[in-house]
Amino acid sequence: MSEVLLSARGLRLAFGGVKAADGIDLDVRHGEFLAIIGPNGAGKTTFINMTTGYLRPQAGRIEFEGKPILGLSPRAIVRRGIGRSFQLPQLFTEHTVLENAALAIAARRGIWSPLAPLLRPRWRDEAMDLLDRFGLRAVAEARADALNEGARKLADIAMAVALEPSLLLMDEPTSGVAAAEKMAIVETLVRVLRSTGVTAVFVEHDMDVVARFADRVAVWSQGRIAALGPPAEVLADPAVRRDVIGIAADA
């Protein structure tokens, strides 16, 4: 098996005059945690959308596990093993947190059974176990729309993890989370992700989080990758400090 899990080459996509992707080349390696940083509007979300089938690039190609995935539907890409979470958590708001988790488990194990309950003992246990690992057991019976932002983010990611993807793309997993909660949430998250062996790409604005948890950092700027490497190097780069970190500190 090759060391590269996801490979993007020459991705281009313009909205009118805005070049949201202007020649993106990126290899994501097996098992790594790759952070994406960069100012708002740099095209970070666009990259995730292209990789997960929500946007079709005008040029370029994307291979996952050595096979082209461009042109596949989002559903087909999920089934190939690429999961994602969203900047705005996408939960079933009128369901309990437990049901949200159980539905994600059902989506993997087989949802097409109209006669057996969703919360059958085995799936309930599995869902509880998942919530436990994310520190959400206490809110299992709460309705999803009653959670605070941090718990919502974690539940959103838990549902993506329940699908057992080999690559997980997370769009700003800590944005909107209160500063006091942030590190605890990231620690929980990283612990769970490391235990599953999933490869993770995450968009992050907090440089402390990036420095502590990323194996590599990619710096996005105006639809291009301006720098790529270990956090110690990239975050020390004066140009990056001026153009990205300065902006992030303001945000």
Partner: protein, 307 residues
């Protein structure tokens, strides 16, 4: 809710007692049960946040299947599955197209299909006898043709049995992964897609099941009233089904039967009391339900328990 089976048993017992004590109510209650079965289908779609304003088309398909077949095949035990099959087939074909749409488009396209069916039933006089309708006569029950009063009890019994069967089926389905995914269409349909689940297929299953129950309800109406007219497909009939669903409440499979029984009884007594003004009374009832009891009759009952 653990009390649902208990309440269902009490309700069934109360219906039997009413039908026994007041014989002429038997007819009304049979119709209420038949409509309740059809309204279960409306409830499924409501769970997905969708309203069908044309569901009477499936009652019409079931009813006309009975009317067309009865002269050559009068056996009720064969006519019921035949009606269910016809409605299910149409539900599948129409559903494949409709599940692409949501909200007002979904509701109105259902209405459009129902209106097409209504005009066909009205205009194709040679086949349907137009607004005169078709009489349904000579039904047999497991090969026998009992006396009229016995037949009424048999029809009531069949309707009650099917109501319990479909009520159970819908309760079980709504708690299943497919049923919970159906409810997910209402709040976060896109999430289903992110999980690799085709939301349209989830909705299609519910739609086809709702068509099946509509067909069974229509067949029961035809067998009870013994006369089928295009009126059963008219848009007001569809509106009535939605009315009953809201009146009864979408929180439980018991709601449609509570709603249908209340609706038919109010209609009968209001019509007797104030002749032409019963629609006004129904309108006022609906207004009160929407404003003060959005969970319908079921919502009032279950709130009482929790308090």
């Amino acid at each position: 809710m653990k009390r649902e089976p208990l309440l269902a048993a009490l309700g069934a017992f109360a219906l039997i007692a009413c039908a026994w004590a007041v014989p002429w109510l038997k007819f009304i209650l049979t119709i209420a049960l038949a409509k309740g079965i059809a309204v279960l289908g409306i409830l499924l779609l409501l769970r997905a946040g969708q309203v069908s304003f044309g569901h009477s088309m499936f009652l019409a398909l079931g009813a006309y299947t009975v009317a067309f077949m009865a002269p050559t095949e009068p056996e009720v035990l064969l006519l019921l599955p035949a009606a269910a099959l016809v409605a299910t087939g149409f539900g599948l074909v129409i559903g494949l197209f409709l599940v692409r749409y949501r909200d007002i488009f979904f509701g109105m396209l259902n209405l459009a299909f129902a209106m097409v069916l209504y005009s066909l039933l009205e205009k194709l006089y040679a086949i349907t006898k137009g607004t005169d309708g078709i009489r349904v006569a000579g039904l047999t029950f497991a090969g026998t043709q009992p006396e009229r009063p016995v037949q009424e009890w048999v029809m009531f019994g069949i309707a009650l049995g099917l109501a319990i069967l479909f009520g159970l089926l819908v309760s079980v389905y709504l708690a299943s992964p497919m049923g919970r995914a159906l409810a997910g269409i209402k709040t976060r349909e896109t999430r289903l897609e992110f999980m690799g689940v085709p939301a349209r297929r989830v909705l299609l299953f519910a739609y086809v099941l709702s068509a099946l129950m509509g067909g069974v309800g229509g067949a029961l109406v035809a067998m009870t009233t013994r006369h089928v007219t295009p009126q059963i497909a008219y848009w007001t009939a569809s509106g009535e089904l939605v009315f009953i669903a809201i009146l009864g409440g979408a929180g439980s499979a018991l709601g449609p039967f509570l709603g249908a029984t209340a609706f038919e009884l109010v209609r009968v007594y209001a019509a007797a009391a104030v002749a032409e003004a019963w629609q006004m009374i129904l309108g006022a009832v609906l207004l009160v339900v929407i404003l003060f009891a959005p969970g319908g009759v079921w919502g009032l009952l279950s709130r009482r328990w929790r308090a």
